[in-house]
Symmetry: C2
Subunit: 205 residues, 2 copies
DNA sequence: TGTACATCAGTGAACGCGCGTTCACTGATGTAC
DNA sequence: TGTACATCAGTGAACGCGCGTTCACTGATGTAC
């Protein structure tokens, strides 16, 4: 798979990788097809051998992200089983870990304006990933005293929001919004307090 | 303050308003100076009578946002006094209310890449707004049993993250991330569970 | 193994476009007398 | 009140730039015989 010569060898993936780096650096709208091509050592026109255009390239980057994301969430969930609580905490951690490890993918997925309904595959993958979180929330709900049990969808929305908020505000080089705490600790403790509020963790644990 | 004639009358503010609308619609990087000028009924060159350039215009939009934001947070805090709990909940609600009512400002402030350290005034206003949240968290901490008391800064970070997450994921027309719950309810209940976890709200309230 | 040929992945030039910014200018407004 | 003039907020043309996209092309690769 040499990179020299007239034919690239694996240009398609090289373009996706370049796009991911650029999206991570400059944001989704700052990303340009021409620059991605340049970074892959190729003329902008060459991109059209592999993608329909700019949007299509971003969508592929997002798709790969959803794929990894769904797998990670699945794995985290299973690792926590059979304990509903462990599964739930584990998926929350996996969310942050994904955002930290694949920031380009994360941005392509959640900030690029690419609709999840662009293709059936995208919709499926996204549904799978978030479905894991929701399933974990449902199982968790079964352990909550009914009188203080919010809808499971709400619980998963709360956790999703907290994860996303921590990522956006504290896990990225956001200007001027540094926190004295590592994002992992922030999320861990935030979810911990939340779960205690649901009556799922002993008050002094 | 007629809009007709050679002289605009209040072009500076008209440009800021146009910028806010465009930023809200197209995101911070999709926003163009030329379009803002056009929307204000004026040549792009006219912008330079009032601003140093594109960045400067965005920064002014953000500045006005921080001003309103800081005032709203202040007001919400005071409204809750002397109860620490009421103040805390009130500022959380004010955060979301601001994001909902001034989406253009919100984006200019938190997603435009404008650094809060761009000018001393920006830094001051931003510090003031977030300082309110932190002060509320500190007062709240005093009512938490010491053995389960996280640092006050952490509490305010948690709430900020949850607010921001709810705004980004559920309060905007994000594609495909609709929730069956109104964002206000989501935030209210999320903060409620969280506060219960801190031991600040009776378990069955 | 060697040659002819089809396929395919790239080139490079060109397009029209909208961008941010500059410049010399001019028309409208406000002020002094 | 009327006139002369300074100030100032706008114009409009021009700039260089990088963008996404198209097109006819060509060089490299793989296959058939």
């Amino acid at each position: 798979m040499s990179k020299r010569g007239y034919h690239h060898g694996n240009l398609r993936q090289a373009l996706v990788d370049a796009a991911l780096t650029l999206i991570e650096e400059k944001g989704p709208t700052g990303f340009t097809l021409s620059e991605a091509a340049k970074q892959a050592g190729v003329t902008p026109a060459a991109v059209y051998r592999h993608f329909e255009g700019r949007e299509d390239l971003i969508a592929e980057a997002a798709r790969q992200g959803y794929e990894v994301f769904a797998d990670l969430m699945d794995y985290a969930y299973k690792k926590g089983q059979p304990s509903a609580l462990a599964s739930f905490e584990s998926t929350g951690r996996a969310y942050l870990a994904f955002a930290r490890k694949y920031p380009g993918h994360y941005v392509a997925m959640f900030e690029s304006g690419i609709s999840v309904n662009r293709t059936p595959e995208l919709a499926m993958l996204s549904g799978r990933a978030l479905g894991v979180l929701e399933r974990a929330a449902i199982e968790l709900s079964a352990h909550i005293p009914p009188d203080r049990r919010p809808p499971a969808q709400m619980v998963s929305a709360h956790i999703w929001a907290m994860c996303h908020g921590v990522v956006e505000l504290f896990a990225r080089g956001s200007p001027g919004t540094k926190s004295p705490f590592p994002p992992e600790d922030l999320l861990e403790s935030g979810i911990g307090v939340y779960l205690r509020g649901l009556g799922l963790v002993p008050p002094d644990a």
